[in-house]
Subunit: 186 residues, 2 copies
Amino acid sequence: MASSGAAQISVTEAALLGLLTRGEMSGYDLQRTAERSGGFFWAPAKSRVYAVLPQLVERGFATSREVVQEHRPNKQLYRITPAGRAALQGWLEVPPGVEPERNPLLLKIFLGDLVEPEVLISHVRTLHAEATALKRRLEALEANGAAEPYGELTIKFGLEWAQAVIRWSRSAEKELEARVGQAALR
Amino acid sequence: MASSGAAQISVTEAALLGLLTRGEMSGYDLQRTAERSGGFFWAPAKSRVYAVLPQLVERGFATSREVVQEHRPNKQLYRITPAGRAALQGWLEVPPGVEPERNPLLLKIFLGDLVEPEVLISHVRTLHAEATALKRRLEALEANGAAEPYGELTIKFGLEWAQAVIRWSRSAEKELEARVGQAALR
DNA sequence: ACCACCATGTAACAGGTTACATGATTAA
DNA sequence: TTAATCATGTAACCTGTTACATGGTGGT
């Protein structure tokens, strides 16, 4: 088995190591890269990045070297080690689960009877707008042609997700409006 | 404004208070209810439930009374207070955002070039199976007719989500298989 | 004059998990 | 006799966030 002796790493650690497979980078680079490209599925706070990196070094998953610069602050460049690659590999090979949709939004809908229907409708409309914006952003990314080998698949996933939200919010809006209409007739 | 003086509460607190609007319950009841019905979008560990409940009492959002039982352990029953309702109301009125899909799965796809394509394909198939199972579970729930006023809408959201995953994994599987085929030709 | 970028970090806190601990009742 | 249900909690740990702190460089 590949995972028998493999060290456990967290999602953030996997993400960091994953980016490091693309080349030597500083904490600053990593955080920026994560936030921009692909960043729609993973974006830790920078404080977290700077906290995790030394841990990776300590555990032997990366090495660091200081680069002295003239007109900017010095920086640490991190490089993944074979042990790091192995740990990442192990993580990648664990089958992912369909996350159980732990979504505050769902809770707000579920408890919808506790607020005015208009509030709910406005929530749904906000959601629709946000999903549409996400979709546009992803379409733009897709049009650029992904630099990453599997970037496209990731974007497509995001698009399916956005589309699902759009579909749902359209039908939900209609249904909520119908309920308001019925209430007015009583 | 409704939220001006409203106390901040977390998602878990909102969920607990939300269930308490349905009636007096114990920690045990709450945890079980959350796990079953609707539980596909929210399911904290029981230790968390037992930790949060006394805090709610301390903050004046709920009251508790002990019920002495004969053939079972005694229990605490919690009841939501007007202040609790107000806090919940405030939380419900904050517009929800489209969560940025912080999904480990996405990361695994994104870094797909680091594992054998077969591993990726197997991941995608697992996902497909899980999404299908979720879909079936939700359809069964839907057929039962929801007890909660807005239960149906919640279920529909879950169905759209499941459907999106199914659609994506079907197309992803095809594409990955094609890549493997191409690689074999080289 | 002001803002964004480069670059790293600390401190305080929030929110959550797993594993451990206990122990009677009841249905298969 | 074995397992699930009822019922509550503690301890240790992990992961993550926001806010604070510092300070030069380079463009508008």
